[in-house]
Symmetry: C2
Subunit: 457 residues, 2 copies
Amino acid sequence: MAKFKGFLFGVFFVGSIALNIFFLTNNLYAGHVNKQQLSWSQRAAAEAEAVASVSCSGHGITYLDGLFLDEKPVCECNSCYGGPTCSHFLPDCVADADSGDPLFLEPFWMQHAESSAVLVAGWHRMSYVFADQSYMSQVLQNHILKVHSIARNAITKGKYLVFGGGSTQLLSAAVFALSLNSSSLARVVAASPYYPVYKTQTDFFETAHFEFQGDALLMKRTSNSTGNAIEFVTSPNNPDGLLRKAVLPGSSVNAIYDHAYYWPHFTAIPAPADEDVMIFTISKLTGHAGSRFGWALVKDEDVYLNMLKYMQLAELGVSRDTQLRALQLLKVVLEGDGREIFHFAYEKMRDRWEKISQIVSLSKRYTIQDIPPQYCNFFEKVRGPSPAYVWLKCEREEDTNCNAVLRGANIIGRLGSLFNASDRYVRLSLLKRDDDFNLLLYRLKELVSKEGGAETL
Amino acid sequence: MAKFKGFLFGVFFVGSIALNIFFLTNNLYAGHVNKQQLSWSQRAAAEAEAVASVSCSGHGITYLDGLFLDEKPVCECNSCYGGPTCSHFLPDCVADADSGDPLFLEPFWMQHAESSAVLVAGWHRMSYVFADQSYMSQVLQNHILKVHSIARNAITKGKYLVFGGGSTQLLSAAVFALSLNSSSLARVVAASPYYPVYKTQTDFFETAHFEFQGDALLMKRTSNSTGNAIEFVTSPNNPDGLLRKAVLPGSSVNAIYDHAYYWPHFTAIPAPADEDVMIFTISKLTGHAGSRFGWALVKDEDVYLNMLKYMQLAELGVSRDTQLRALQLLKVVLEGDGREIFHFAYEKMRDRWEKISQIVSLSKRYTIQDIPPQYCNFFEKVRGPSPAYVWLKCEREEDTNCNAVLRGANIIGRLGSLFNASDRYVRLSLLKRDDDFNLLLYRLKELVSKEGGAETL
C-alpha cells in the first residue's frame, strides 16, 4: 500500500514538473509575442479589425465610417449586389462603366493589409504648417521622387514639387499659375477628344487672365498666331489611351501635361516625361481616388510659386491626414524592388483589355481604339495595350448615339460628345471592380452575340 | 535521512503545485487580455505607439511622418526650444504670436489618446464617391449636427450641409455660389478690421461675377444702393473677438457668416446662429488646423447646389481620409455629455486672456479690446471674455507702427493694416501652445515693466 502510494505520488510529482516546464516555455513565448503589448492604440486597431472582419460575401465591403445596424457595420454592396451580406445578384442590373473609379486596385491593398494600415493619433499634425513652415511633407516628397525613379516615367531633377487635392485641383492651379505670368488673355485649349473637366473647370473659374477656347487642333488650323495659349495635353489620353504631345508649336504655348495615366498600369513608358508642368495623381497610381491627392512637377520657379500661392489661398495646402495616408501607401509601393504594384496593375488591365478586344473583334458593328505595341522603359520590352478605357465606336450608319445603343443593352458608358467627340463614340471604364468588369463583359458578349451574322459566342 | 528526503520531496511537490496554480491563473488572465489579439493592424498600431513614446522633454513632439535619424523619430521642437530632445531653451528667441495656429488644444487630444486614435486600412474608401454617390460622409454629417445641438451655436434644421477644405475653401465657394445667382457684378465687402484672406482670396479668384470692393462700412456710407453685395461677416470677429451682424441692410446683401470662432471656447453664445450661409471649421473647434476640414450650413437650395458644384470642380470633394479623421475627433467631442472640450478650451482661453489683461492693465502705452460680459446659452450664465486674439493698440502718439514697437521687444504680431485697420494695432495670437503663450506673456511683462511710471512688476 505504501509502495503504491509512493508510486502515485511520484507520478503526480513528475506530472506537475512537466506541467511547470510546459507553462514556463509557453509563457516565455507568449511574453515574446506580447512584447508588442499595445496600450492607447489597442482600441482603434481592434475596432478597425472588427469592422473589416465582417463578411460581405466577396461582393461588398465595410468601412469604419459606414452605417451601423445593431452595432454591426453594414455591408456596402458592389454594383448589382444586394442583401445584408451582398450575396444576392440583381440580374437585370445595369453594367455601369461610366466612371473612372480605380477600384481594380482594391485587392492589392487587401493583400497588403499589414503594411498599408496607418494609425493616426489624436494629436497628429494639428498645426497649419510643417516644421519648415510649408504645407508639404518633406518625407512624402522624397517618397514621390523615389516612385518616379523606379517607374522611370518622369524626370524629377531640377523640378519643383507642388501638392494638390487630386490632379483636379492642380489642373486649375496650373492654369492660374501660367496665366498670371502674362499681360494678355491666355486661351486654354485641349485636343479632342479631351477630358470634359478641362472645359467645365476652366469655364467655372474663368478670370480676366484666361478663357477656355476649345479644340487645340481647331486653334492650330485657324489661328495665324496662337499668341498666349495654354494647352492641356493628356498623355496617355483620356479617353483613348494614346500617348500624346502638344499640338500647338512650343514657342507660343504653355503646355500642362496631365500624366494621370502615365504609369506602367496603363501604357508603355517609352521614356521618362520631361515637360515643364507635369501632373500626377495617386488615384491612378495606387487607386486611392477618395484621398484627393496629386502632385505637380514644375520647372519654372515663377510658375511653381504661383501654384503654391493658389494652394495657399484655395485651401492652405493639402490635408495632413491625406499626406500621412499617401506616405503609408507609397511606402508599400516602394517595398521590395518597388515594382510589385506595377506588375499587379498591368496584368489586371492587360487581361481586361484582351477580353474586351476579343469580344469586340467578333463584332461588325463596334470597333475599339487601336493601340500599337510599343517599347516600355519600365518592363524593358515591347508590350501591348492595357488602357484605362475602351473608346468604343458605333460603326453602323443609324447608330449615331452610341450611348443610347449601349443603354438598350443595359450598359452605361460616357457619351462621346462630353469629350468634344462624336456621339458615335462611348467611353467604357475598365478601372472598376472585378464585379463591375465581369458584368460589362457579359453584357457586351450578349450585345455582340445578338448581331446576327457575327460568329455565335 | 529518509524522513528528510521525504520532507524535501514534499516541499518541492507543494512548490510545483503552487507554481502550476500561478501559471494557470496568469495564463487565463493573459488569455482574457489577449482576447483582443490583433493581426494585420498590429504593426501600424505598434509603430504609432513607438513614435509617440519618444520623449521630447515636454517641449516638442514626434510624428509618424516626421524625419527619422538612426531609425528613431526626430523631435520637432516647440518654438524657442532646441536640441535632440527639445530640452534647450533658446533665451533670445522671439515670441511669435502671429499665427492663429490652434495648438492650445493639443493637450486635450493627448489626454484622449485612446478614444481619438483611428486606424486607416489600406483599402479605406478608395472610391471617388460614397454609397449615395456623394462626396460627403452621411455619418459625419450627423455628428456635426449633434455637435451644434450640444454647443447650441447654430440652427441646423432646414439647412443644407456642404463640406470643404477648411473654412478657407468654403469662403471662396460661397462667394462663387452667391455671385452666380445674379446678372450684375457682386461687390464683395467686409467691415474693418477684417480677416485679410477675404481680400487676398477674392482678388486672386476674381471672375466676371464678383469683385472685392473693400470696407463694408465705407460702402454703406457712400452708396445710394448697395445693389448686389456680398458681405463677409465674421462673428466673433477676427481680430477683435466681438460679435457682429452684417452692416449692409438685409434686402440688398447676401451675407456670408464666418463663424469659425463661434464656439464657447472663444465667446459667449447668446443664441444659436441662424443665417442663410454659416461657415465653421474644425480648426477652431478641435484644433485640427492641419486636417483642412470645414462645413457650411446653407439655407437656399440654389446656393447649396452651386457650392456643391464648386467642390466638385475644385477638388471632387473633401478627402475621405480627412472625413474619417474628423468623424473620430467628433466622436470624442460627443463623448459623455459632449461638453468636455468646451470647458477645457474656455478655461484655457479665459485664463490666458486674464493674464494678458492683467499685464496690459498696468501699462500706460498699450490697450486691448474691451469685451463686455454677456449671457451665454451654452454655459447658461453671464460669462467674461476668452477671445482667440489680443487686438493690441499702441496709444503713444509716436508709436504709429505698433508691430515695430513689439518687434523691438522681441514679440512678433500681425500688423493692423493687414486687417484694413491702423498700424497702431497689432493682433497677438492666444491660440498656440503653452510654451508660446508663456513666452509671449513674459515678453509683454518685460515690455510693460520697462515703461517707467508704470507699476513695477
